[in-house]
Symmetry: C2
Subunit: 337 residues, 2 copies
């Protein structure tokens, strides 16, 4: 790590997939904490599919990253200097610190990690972080998942997907994961306890969902959109819920998104498709953290992370891993000293 | 009318639009009432967009019409012969009597019309029939429409659409209708009290919705699908509800349905899209009939019907009027003597 604060700032809005040249490397002096502020040394960056959307100018659920601004990222870090009454040097924290080595913070949106809770730091970007919150509220609140029901989740070996399946199992339901490749599918069933996994690269999703969920799908937690969404739509049970969490197959599309051709299945089965944004649940995160911590301690939920080690400069290629489907579990970039 | 019972029976499943040759004209003797049965002389046929779907073999919310069976249709009629304790010759009734001149019934699914209620017979196929029930439960129950909110309805000059807008007004909300042609649009605003009407044939739906609903659309009641659905999706307010009632633009499509490209707007706006089938509300029809009768009596809701007069043989071309957008209000075929 240099003596300066290295940052990646958004240079331009990508068309299609993001590439390295969409960010500028900028070096600034490490900031100092003013009154009511503290400085965080970034330890781990959360690498999320939503990042691609934040780079677009289009209206979305949060403002886009401005051209010239530090790329938005959730992270864990350690306080190294503080003029804030509630934070002291040495504290571990998690918050929206950005793709940079040091961040200045007023404490807004920052969560202080309790060192007495015996959980790996990475869990705060994973099952106890936005990832876990997204899975928890998406499945249980938006999806209204209940014991005995069947959830199908796409991108099941990804961060949110793997949490969704495990929460469904912890709640006494059935979990079917869709993922790309035999290795990921084995991981879902053998390591994470999914009932079934469907390899969309070698199987017909439509046929396999029928086989594994002969009575229909009660909740489809969709992270990908595209043809997989269409294949599951025609397998919905009555009064099913399709939870729209994302559409990773669509974010990099240059021809614009593809709509679900089979959306009229919602009418036939009296079902609903609903979008949500996890930040709306901020006031209820503690509920989820409580449940998830217990499940984590009981071994019902694994802290499924995929940690790359490197520097800020490795951010673009670590992000690209997500869209290549290379990660298994929550993708994290750990900034090595 | 002949001395026999003329019927239209489904001859084959159409590809694309239905044509006259998809039905066979069959003549049978007029039936006689066995024990617990009665015979209805059909007076008016309800002509519905859903009829096209009933002709397909595909799994849907009710079984398809079988090849060789009398074409399904809701109708009003008069009992001409009865061996049923609850029905007498002369009673006016409404039920699923089919495209034929005389129907034999056991009373299942039949509603006896109270002659003391001063309402035109056609209303029982319109605002007090399936049409009105669909509008009422779709807007208020599935859509959760509340006073002060804004509904946009497509195919607004159609039977269900015109009822949706009028119910929204009766409930103290704002109604914007989308219809084809200046004449229909004038009808919506001047005769039915819609706040605004958008002529999709001459205006940009997207721009006009923005103009008339600058704070976004709370409920979109969609009867058409296709590009209009896409245009309204990007104008949703937060936590909006898209009620899927039908997709008349898609039923005759030979290339298969077109999915809503802008469905991810549901995610950004935290909204839901939900399908429903009015028959599921059968146990609550009386609630709706009570409200609707009062609104009808108070002049808050018009019995908007478009009555063609003719014989059973005019059924195919009357159905075609719907898909040509030729009707204004509920399409009815009245069987003349």
């Amino acid at each position: 790590m240099s003596a300066n604060n290295r940052q990646l700032r958004l240079a331009r809005r990508p068309v299609g997939a993001a590439t390295e040249s969409d960010w500028d490397l900028v070096e600034e002096p490490v900031p100092h904490a003013g009154d009511g502020e503290f400085v965080v040394k970034v330890l781990q960056l959360s690498i999320d599919p939503a990042m691609r959307g934040w780079m677009d100018a289009a209206k979305s659920y949060i403002p886009p990253v401005e051209i010239g601004a530090v790329m938005r990222a959730f992270a864990t870090g350690r306080v190294i200097e503080s003029n804030h009454p509630q934070y002291a040097a040495g504290d571990l924290v998690t918050g929206e610190f950005g793709v940079q080595e040091y961040a200045l913070s007023t404490g807004a949106g920052v969560y202080r990690i309790d060192p007495k809770v015996d959980v790996p730091l990475s869990a705060y970007l994973g099952v106890l972080g936005m990832t876990g919150m997204t899975a928890y509220f998406g499945l249980l609140d938006v999806g209204g998942f209940r014991p005995g029901q069947t959830v199908v989740v796409s991108r099941a070996a990804g961060a949110v997907g793997s949490a969704v399946g495990q929460i469904a199992k912890a709640k006494g339901g059935r979990a079917i994961g869709i993922a790309g490749g035999e290795q990921k599918c084995r991981y879902l069933v053998e390591q994470l306890g999914f009932d079934h996994a469907i390899d969309y690269k070698s199987e017909s999703v439509r046929k396999s969902v029928r086989q594994y969920a002969p009575d229909g799908v009660d909740v489809f937690f969709d992270n990908v959109g595209g043809p997989i969404l269409d294949d599951v739509l025609i397998r919905l049970a009555r009064h099913a819920r399709v939870v729209l969490c994302g559409a990773v197959s669509q974010y990099n599309s240059e021809s614009g998104p593809q709509g679900p051709k089979n959306y009229l299945s919602l009418l036939v089965t009296r079902s609903r498709m609903e979008g949500f944004v996890v930040f709306d649940y901020a006031s209820r995160y503690s509920e989820a953290i409580e449940d998830m911590s217990i499940w984590l301690a009981d071994g019902k939920i694994a802290n499924a992370v995929d940690i790359e080690r490197g520097s800020i400069l490795d951010f673009p290629k670590t992000l690209a891993r997500l869209f290549a489907g290379a990660n298994t579990g929550k993708q994290i970039l750990e900034i090595s000293g």
